[in-house]
Point group: C2
Chain length 594, copies 2
Amino acid sequence: MGAKDFFPAYSPPFSRWLVLLSVLFYVQGSCAVVIGHDSLLRRNSTLLTTQEYRDRRADLIAEERALRFDTQRIRNATAKELRAVEIVDELRKREQASVWYADPNKEPGMPYLWAKDTIAQTDLFKLIKKMPKGGLLHAHLEAICDASYLLKLALDYPTIHVRTASSLNSSAPFPTPIFLPLSQAQANQYTNNSLPTSPEYQPNSWAAINRVRDGFPSELGGPLGFDKWIINSLTISAEDTYTQYNTTAKIWAKFTNTFIAAFGLVRYEPILQRYIDQLLVSQIEDGISYVEIRLGFSSTRGVISADGTRNLTNSQVMDLTQNVISGVRARLKEEGREDDFVGARVIYSATRSISYDEMVKQLNDCLALKEEFPELLAVGFDMAGQEEPGHPLIFFAEALLNFRAEAERRGLDIPFMFHAGETLDDGGEVDSNLYDAFLLGAQRVGHGFSLAKHPLLMQKYRENGIAVEVCPISNELLRLTRSANTHTLPILLNNGVPVALSSDDPAVFQNPGLSFDFYQVWFIPIEFLLQEKTYILAPTKAIVASDITNILSLGQLARQSLEHSSLNLTAKASALRLWEKRWDEFIDYIVASG
Amino acid sequence: MGAKDFFPAYSPPFSRWLVLLSVLFYVQGSCAVVIGHDSLLRRNSTLLTTQEYRDRRADLIAEERALRFDTQRIRNATAKELRAVEIVDELRKREQASVWYADPNKEPGMPYLWAKDTIAQTDLFKLIKKMPKGGLLHAHLEAICDASYLLKLALDYPTIHVRTASSLNSSAPFPTPIFLPLSQAQANQYTNNSLPTSPEYQPNSWAAINRVRDGFPSELGGPLGFDKWIINSLTISAEDTYTQYNTTAKIWAKFTNTFIAAFGLVRYEPILQRYIDQLLVSQIEDGISYVEIRLGFSSTRGVISADGTRNLTNSQVMDLTQNVISGVRARLKEEGREDDFVGARVIYSATRSISYDEMVKQLNDCLALKEEFPELLAVGFDMAGQEEPGHPLIFFAEALLNFRAEAERRGLDIPFMFHAGETLDDGGEVDSNLYDAFLLGAQRVGHGFSLAKHPLLMQKYRENGIAVEVCPISNELLRLTRSANTHTLPILLNNGVPVALSSDDPAVFQNPGLSFDFYQVWFIPIEFLLQEKTYILAPTKAIVASDITNILSLGQLARQSLEHSSLNLTAKASALRLWEKRWDEFIDYIVASG
């Protein structure tokens, strides 16, 4: 029997079968759709000419791109901006060939920690460094300043003590160091303790940081070995994220340990002062003019006073922060650089793993602090921490609704800025935080990595102007995506969801400022170097360039970070004016160099 | 100066500022949206109660899920099916805990080649093996049968010769083996040639396969070392994809070499006969009842006759294929299993790297062959090969429009089934193949990995019933995604784009049948095991289960593969009836085992 015996004779043109089709296959509620759409290829009854086809294609592409976040910015581009686009695209293409495709082990958007040194040497990166980046809207206090800087600060204070859960030796991975500033009275008890590097070390007993460093044995590298241990404890390395901790659970365990290590250092009054100062200065050096810092206020997260004898009150912590911000502003003004910095504010950040009752307590704390520091503090309320094991928002729904009502009664404006969608989940309890963030009226959402899976929610976020604080390098290092070129960001951008690029935990991810994030996301769209091809993408409509994201797109992302900041109207207008001024200078710089 | 000096006094409620807002920030065409959407939290002027909030939440989730591909199937589920869902969800949760989260090095949806052995031992996988899977719509001839099976076939034919570009030794990676069946006259010239494993080997000179195997030196593992070399040449290993060839360019080079190695073996008349037979039998064993094979017909892709003296004509290749299909059907009938197999057909597959003129020639060949084999052959036309370096569809637009017109003139129905969107590109020339596939009236699209980035196109694909042949394991091993849990498939499913799961190149990816694909995609949605939590997802509306994808979803995916096959109406109706019958038996089996 041949195939012809099995398959009925060739069937007549499809149209005749259409009625039969809908009868035959309407089984179980799903209808087989096989009618094709040849009508697309027709003008009346005639097939399209190639030119008509190209026109139709250009229209379709333009229709889809109209959804994008940068459409208007590109449409309204000045002649000078268009020239800058050309120059930068040319540079980008050149370095794609000379840097990324010249080495078979490299490609655009490749894993960040393998790419970082190469990126830093490109002219494109040096250009992005100069770009005014607007606001940093998502970053956690303890993980912003460079790890080596934090270590340097720590070594200035002999009151800092360290302990470990086991002794250090070369035959096992080093334990996480726990730091704590002790009062003189406390410190006196530990002056003769065995060091963590000694076989006699009593687990979890304190030793002064300088004693431990000076006594670090030479077989473990001596004092420099100590520094390496601390810095490794404060950061995630390529080996950590790409090899050793390659599941979500494992990398979050490592990540949590970096916070445990940083915590006892950052939350010490004299260090905190210098740390916040450096935090602001380092962002400003990267072209960031405004920062919203996520800060935790739970009772176990106190800041210890200079003499090590007590916890600062939350009000004292806020006063300290405010004074540092004012100090940085004053210094910049003296240098004639006051336009480089429009301010910094604090988002009240709880953790999502706490109990319902504890959350109610923190929500009340937040209201009280907001009344005391109406402009600096609690410009938003958030819950941080890994979403999977933590409670979803719906768990706290009643408390959050009550908070909203109470804030309204007191006339306090504390928008929600929830972590949501920092997960690979699809439609489960974790991913569903994105529904609650929306329904609870969040003004922004942290991460929103899984928002790309939600067609209706993306539309709602767009229509309601809910910005997503996307943290590409953070998401990569915490194993949500292999690298920048497989991140979901382009989906959000193509759907017109407002996005503010953020660094999340720059210290942990070895990712100072926002320049690396801007560089990496730019390479998410891969453009292969096609040779000797004469067609172009959308011949009748292409305005600027054949690729979808250009330097104006990056500018629009930067601008959006200010638009979606919590600055009040006057301050925001001023910040945007300053940003536009710096942007113009940046464009001038590009055109002059081209 | 304190922060209060810088920040203006606390601003009045937002509504008053709304007019001012739109004036202030309408700069450069983009408007700062910071109005929030507190109205969501209100019923008239009162804030929602928790219950009202939960109802609104359930409505929102239901509204979004209505877009999904499986909504109707789940809504119309029988009581028996709902019971099966419960049983399978219970099994899935149990094995998530006992298999995937019990070992810190494992997680659901983890890299396939690291997960494969573990998957194969689960009860859930054994269940999926039994599931009727409908059609396999995307698989390339040379890469379907297991590599060790192909090697076994090759060793049966002493006429097969092998050559390499350099000699083999333990100090360098082994070169790719090139195979060719030689005629007796040709073979006679090479009987005394040095072997590729000899230092005297003359690069690219032929040696009989059995001589090379028998003479494989013991330091390279002897004959078993030969087998290992050939199988490694025909497959991509975990080491290859996750470590050694970790860029798109490198992994495609390796991938292309597997085809080069397979080519000379598969395209030999007596092997091809047995190979196609095994291809069908192995799919049938995995519950696949219908296959559409992509087959290349270019002049350089001939099939060599049994005596090694000539190329078969394309008609002869088709006759051979038809006879094998008929033979398998006859055997199954004898065994009383004729319902397990509804047929196989061939998609004409060109490669996209050829010249415009060569493409015109192949399009004409395709029309001619279709006239000769109207039901078996050319049930679709495609262009295979890596999209990045190959030509985009727009390059061939004129030829494709002419082909469409000519097919219509001759009354031939040859739908386009283009590879498109098998890329990480975003809006560039490569990714734009998705626009052209749509505008050229494609009935299906191969891969569509980047379709997730196209909100408008996803809607068009859905409305026009254009199915995407998604190949999750292929995409992972070719470095479009780290692993199943970061694949874009959930985005297509949540947008209601029709999807048919496919294996692409099961031999290369060590992925027989479709069971592993079904298993892995099922774990794309991660469900963490949340303990002691009392909330549920959508309390007032949840029908079946709290997670978004269940066994009925998998069934719907299987069913869709038949709905979107190229079977004509009568054959399709029959195939769907048979599938529903097997599905019912499958559900019965689950319920009986529960």
